[in-house]
């Protein structure tokens, strides 16, 4: 099976892992608990090239039609 790089697809926004420090800042800024973040499944195909585990937070840079670029966060869940 040939490997396809799906991160290049137009529908797939950029995913990146958020460091522990940034994660803390993020949760504090919006006064959230980790559980309140939207989920992304750990077997999601867009996460394949990222080394993430359950409980990590993923930063997603969407190309929004209204705001140009918008940043979204999801927590990795099983």
């Amino acid at each position: 099976m040939s490997k396809i790089d799906i991160t290049q697809h137009v529908l797939v926004p950029k995913h990146s892992k958020v460091s522990e420090k940034e994660k803390k800042e993020l949760l504090q800024k919006y006064s959230l608990t980790l559980k309140e973040l939207p989920k992304i499944l750990s077997n999601d195909t867009a996460l394949k090239s990222l080394d993430v585990q359950e409980g990590d937070v993923v930063k997603i840079e969407r190309n929004s039609l209204t705001a140009g670029k918008s940043i979204f966060y999801r927590r990795v869940a099983l």
Partner: protein, 375 residues
């Protein structure tokens, strides 16, 4: 790059607005303009506690009443149907697993996108079964065998050989028949085992033969090369994104399908969210209606919150609600109430519907803030 004087607004104002401001505003007035822009932007923001979901539901539902109920819409020249209008919208919002007309738009790499071998490429993608290659089936009653008279031209057309065809047949019919190549590149099938019913079995075998998959991509039932702007793309009936993306002549960055679950499994949840938005917009625009993008984005976000796609149905988003009463008020109330009673669920009355039921102020708008006493 953002101007020095705009740095303080980067966090407060969306990028797109800042870029626009920078492009149109002379540098001397930038600071003042930015201040005003920030003020205007904050005013335009929706107020905390506003019932955005309700507004979205109305904004999408009202144009929905004006949509055509026609299921079919002709896309292009060939007899290809695509579900549009209200049925398609319901399909997307319910997140149906199997949609009524799956289609793909396959973009090709250069030089194929300029029309090189376009017919050839299209035929390679299409799922082909035995019957496509066979000119004639000859049944030999005494030998209990079937001879397939093959059309060599068609075999060459889709880049296969008689051998691969024979292999495919062998694989599919291991138990029933033995396969032999005979003169003139034809295939002979001989029935295994003999008894009185053999003749019947033979006829059944012939029918079965016709639908045996040989080459192409499973699920792609029709292909249609079309020219869009200045490149050729292939539109298909039937969808199989994963397999199509593996083909070498396919542009893997732009090829899409209208099956949202397929996008979720091959490209991930974020791609699926974007696909929901795109598909809904396509439906709304095709009807000449106009719904603000933000409502659609809210729906798509809600559907993709939990990491997988959930439809706006009693099995999807609604089943996720924390409140028993809210779930019961949507559909199948008795079942929700009895199940909740069985396990002793607690309703914290944090949301709207349950409070309406109990004749209490709802926690939206001015009902949201609470009074806190100073100690």
């Amino acid at each position: 790059m953002v101007h020095e004087q705009l740095k303080q607004y980067v966090e407060k104002i969306p990028n797109k607005l800042l870029e626009e401001l920078e492009a149109h505003c002379p540098a001397s007035k930038l600071k003042k303009a930015a201040e005003k822009l920030c003020e205007e932007y904050l005013n335009a923001n929706i107020a905390p506690g506003e019932a955005v979901g309700l507004i979205s539901a109305e904004s999408i539902g009202e144009p929905g009443t004006q949509m055509t109920l026609n299921t079919f819409h002709f896309a292009g020249v060939a007899e290809m149907n695509v579900t549009m209008g209200l049925p398609r919208m319901v399909e997307i919002l319910d997140a149906r697993k199997s949609i009524s007309t799956p289609t793909m738009e396959i973009f090709l790499k250069s030089p194929y996108n300029k029309g090189k071998d376009i017919r050839d490429v299209a035929l390679q993608i299409k799922e082909t079964s035995t019957s496509y290659f066979v000119k004639e089936f000859t049944i030999n009653v005494t030998n209990l065998s079937i001879e397939l008279n093959l059309d060599q031209e068609k075999i060459r057309e889709v880049h296969t050989s008689v051998k691969t065809l024979a292999k495919a047949l062998e694989k599919a019919l291991v138990k029933e028949a033995s396969i032999k190549l005979v003169e003139g590149d034809n295939i002979e099938l001989k029935l295994k085992g003999k008894d009185e019913k053999s003749l019947n079995v033979l006829y059944k075998l012939k029918e079965k033969l016709k639908d045996i998959y040989v080459t192409g991509i499973k699920g792609i039932k029709q292909v249609l090369p079309v020219k869009r702007k200045d490149e050729f793309i292939i539109i298909t009936a039937g969808s199989n994104l994963k397999k199509v993306l593996e083909l070498e002549f396919v542009d893997t960055t732009r090829t899409v399908t209208n099956d949202i679950h397929e996008i979720n499994s091959t490209l991930g949840i974020e791609a699926a969210r974007q696909a929901i938005i795109d598909e809904l917009l396509k439906v709304i625009e095709a009807q000449g209606l106009n719904v603000d993008l933000r409502h659609i984005m809210l729906v798509a976000d809600t559907m993709c919150m939990g990491g997988s796609i959930k439809g706006i149905t009693r099995y999807g988003v609604v089943s996720e609600k924390a409140s028993v009463l809210a779930r019961a008020s949507f559909e199948t109330p008795l079942r929700h109430l009895t199940n909740a009673a069985l396990v002793g669920e607690i309703d914290y009355l944090d949301s709207v519907v349950e409070n309406v039921m109990l004749n209490q102020p709802v926690p939206i708008g001015t009902g949201l803030p609470r009074v806190i006493a100073k100690k």
